[in-house]
Every structure is written in structure tokens, then in C-alpha cells.
Symmetry: C2
Subunit: 219 residues, 2 copies
DNA sequence: TGTACATCAGTGAACGCGCGTTCACTGATGTAC
DNA sequence: TGTACATCAGTGAACGCGCGTTCACTGATGTAC
């Protein structure tokens, strides 16, 4: 049966979205043009009306995902003025994003996607670098306002921040979704925060972390 | 030219090692039986004299890698009695392992390897679980000896520990080896340690209060 | 307003390629006698 | 000790499969007149 005739802009978007969904559902190795076409409701060769090659489809998919990821930086910045709260907010957004779309960690890891193609590898690197730059900026703000220890290296803290999520994503995948990513993120965050934060020895907030953990546990 | 005739035990080992080297050098997608055979100095069909299928080769490769990884737990335990130093030692060994053999993170991430095969996925999960159990044991020892805060969840700390390395491995790969994994590991370790460690053991009031909270935490 | 035509998205058959795998055959090695 | 034979690792040709890609063709849509 012949599919409805739609404009290239619409199809390009549909194809990129279908690719993302497929990666989330089946993994990177399930990402064939045939599977993408089936999901969109087209025949494999129809993809070539809208993209020149599979490589172009991958590039578009990476752009889609990168935009979503980087958008979270702006959302977190708009949420609260306090840098530590911004980091916490960003962490929660990131967890929500990978729970909603498992494609994120798969893209980052899978060299199947940018195997031989140096340009595509660079594209992924650029997105991650920008993401980390945003995180490092939050850390610097926290140092400027005296909330975060000045001896912490902001760039290293940004890489470490990614580490609060990456292992969870791997375990989530390995256990077929049985691993509690949200809970792990909160617990890792507690340790991470305790490692960054300046605690005023004079302040009564010494028991601060235990209290805040309790509060945070209530839904 | 005809290759030397060697026993199956020798060839099995050679093949598994060649597979590991290939993954480290070319990535998981470069892992074809043809490439493995070339590296060993055999013809592709000769692999079938020693393994029944490519799946069996992958299983053997995973076993090889898992043994190396888990062996580091024993080495770290033998290195020093202090749990925090053990964790630090383990981190350094892990960094050395992935620097020497990039196959480690690639194996853990790549669903190309255990795509449809539930058994193989379970095998990888089992190795990582055992690794984390060992890390969690170090954390518990630290809590028992009063070096690590009792309100820290050992299992969550173990997952977090993996996060000290995973993002570095990704960045190392994305930047073609230009990212300084060792330095990042040390800096992330500082923050991680600061988040776990009991800074002032001479404050018994605080420690006792925290402990009593933890007692009523969960079964 | 209707008509003719250019444009362009969708189709199905066909391709070349690399892959894992099979198989009949070769020839070296170890062993029973 | 030498000889015959079973065992077993290595070989190269061939296979079926899924993949990305090409191409001539179809038919709908928008536009110029």
C-alpha cells in the first residue's frame, strides 16, 4: 500500500524521531534503515528521498538528542539561583531524560554509531563537551558565591557529575529496567554534594545532610 | 600457507585474547571472526575447530575480561588494610586496566555484544554485580572501622564508584586518547572521598546521632 | 475557470558486500601393534 | 623398532542472510497558462 505523500521536512523529522525510538527500544544494532522505514510507515528506499545516506540519518538523530540534552542546562538555570540546587535539578532532569529515552546513554557509548566516521565522533564529543561546560559553569558560580569548595576543579567536577548517572544507565539496561535509577541518583548526589559543599563549622546545620536526605525521601 | 598445528586449549586462549585486543583497538564492531582469525594467523573457518560459534568466542572473551577485573579486588584487598586506601588502590588499578585494555568499558557498554542473547547479558551483569559487591564490602569495612560515614549506603557508593571511571573512559575514547584519565580519576576521587569520609572522628555526638537514625532506616 | 506540465514523494526489484557458518578435503601428530 | 591407522587442526570454496544503496517507474500535488 502506498504511504501518504508528505513534505521532506515532515519526513526528516519523523525519520530522526523513529531512529531515536528504535535505539531506545532495540539498541543501536537494531537501527537499520529497514526498521526505521517500517516505523515511519515507508519502504526502505523511500528514506533516500529525504536523506542522502544512513550517515545523514545518524547525524540528524544526534542533533535531535543533543538539543534535548543541552536544553536541560537552560531549564536547570531557570529553575533556581542556587548553583548546588541547579546541579541537583539538572541531575533529576537528566535521569528523567534517560528514563524516558534510553537512547541517550546508548548514543554516548556506542562506537557502532561513529565507528569509522571521525566527523560523527566529533559531533558527539562536541555535545558532551558543551554539556560539561555548562555543568562546570554551575560549579564556578557555586565557588564564587562561597557554596562550593574553592579547591575543587570545576571541569573535573563536571566529568564526575556525569559519573553520577552513567553507571546507573548501564545497570538499568543490564537489568532490563529493574535497577532504580532515580534512587541511585539521589544517593550518589548526597555523596557528591557532601564532597563539594562548604560546611560552616559554626552553623547548626551540621546534621544538614541527614535531615535533607530524610526530607527528600518523602514523595 | 598452512598455520602451525596447535592444541585446542592453546588456540582457544589465543582466540579469546585476540578478540580482546581487537575490541580494544577497533571497537566492538570490528570484532569479526575474520579479523580474529587474521590476528591469530588462521583462516576464518579454523575458528570452528575450537569454538562452536561466534557466541562461544564472545562468552570466552567475557570470562577472560571478568577474571582480570575481579582479580583487582583481591589485589586491592591485599595491598592495604585501610578500606579507603583499598578503594583508592582499586581505582588506580581499574584506571590502569582500562588504559592498558580499552576493551573493558567497551564490553560493559556495548549492547552489540549481548544484543539478543539474554544469557550473555546476564553474564556481564553477573561480573559487574560481583565487582560492585566487592566495592560495597570495602565501604562496609570502612563504616565498621569508623572511617566512613554510617549514613552512606554501601551499594549506592559502589555504583557511584564506577561513575568515577566510566565518564573518563568515554571521554578518553571520544578524544582519541587525549583525555587524561589518570588525573580525572584522582580529582574525582578527592571529591568522592570527601563525601564518604568522616572528617572529624572526635565529634562522637554527631556520629552517634547519625547512627541511631540509620538503625531505624530499613530491614 | 479548466488544463497541461513540472516537481517530487513513494515503490519494488535488484545490486554488491561482509558476515557467520558449513563442508569435503588435506596433512600433521600421536598411538597401538 | 618400524608401520598402519585414528585423531584432529587447518584449508578454501561455497552458502544464505541482512544490510545499505541504486534505479526506473508510479502517481499525487502544486503551478503556469
Amino acid at each position: 500500500m502506498r504511504a501518504e505523500k508528505l513534505s521532506t521536512e515532515v519526513r526528516q523529522d519523523q525519520i530522526a524521531r523513529a531512529a531515536l525510538q528504535l535505539i531506545a527500544a532495540e539498541g543501536v544494532q537494531g537501527l537499520s534503515l529497514a526498521a526505521i522505514a517500517r516505523r515511519v510507515g515507508l519502504v526502505p528506499s523511500a528514506i533516500y528521498r529525504h536523506y542522502r545516506s544512513k550517515g545523514e540519518v545518524l547525524d540528524a538523530t544526534i542533533d535531535h538528542l543533543g538539543a534535548r540534552l543541552l536544553h536541560n542546562l537552560d531549564l536547570a538555570a531557570g529553575e533556581t539561583p542556587d548553583p548546588l540546587d541547579r546541579l541537583h535539578d539538572l541531575l533529576k532532569r537528566h535521569v528523567a531524560l534517560i528514563r524516558e529515552n534510553q537512547a541517550v546513554p546508548r548514543f554516548i557509548f556506542s562506537e557502532t554509531i561513529y565507528g569509522r566516521d571521525a566527523g560523527r565522533k566529533e559531533k558527539v564529543r562536541s555535545i558532551i563537551t558543551r554539556y560539561m561546560k555548562g555543568i562546570a559553569a554551575f560549579v564556578r558560580e557555586g565557588q564564587a558565591s562561597g557554596r562550593i569548595r574553592p579547591d575543587v576543579d570545576p571541569d573535573a567536577a563536571a566529568v564526575h557529575f556525569l559519573g553520577l548517572i552513567l553507571p546507573s544507565a548501564v545497570l538499568w539496561h543490564l537489568t532490563d529496567g529493574r535497577f532504580d535509577v532515580t534512587r541511585q541518583a539521589e544517593r550518589a548526589w548526597s555523596t557528591y554534594r557532601a564532597g563539594l559543599e562548604i560546611v560552616d563549622p559554626a552553623a547548626p546545620g551540621r546534621a544538614r545532610r541527614v535531615r535533607s536526605r530524610r526530607d527528600g525521601r518523602k514523595p
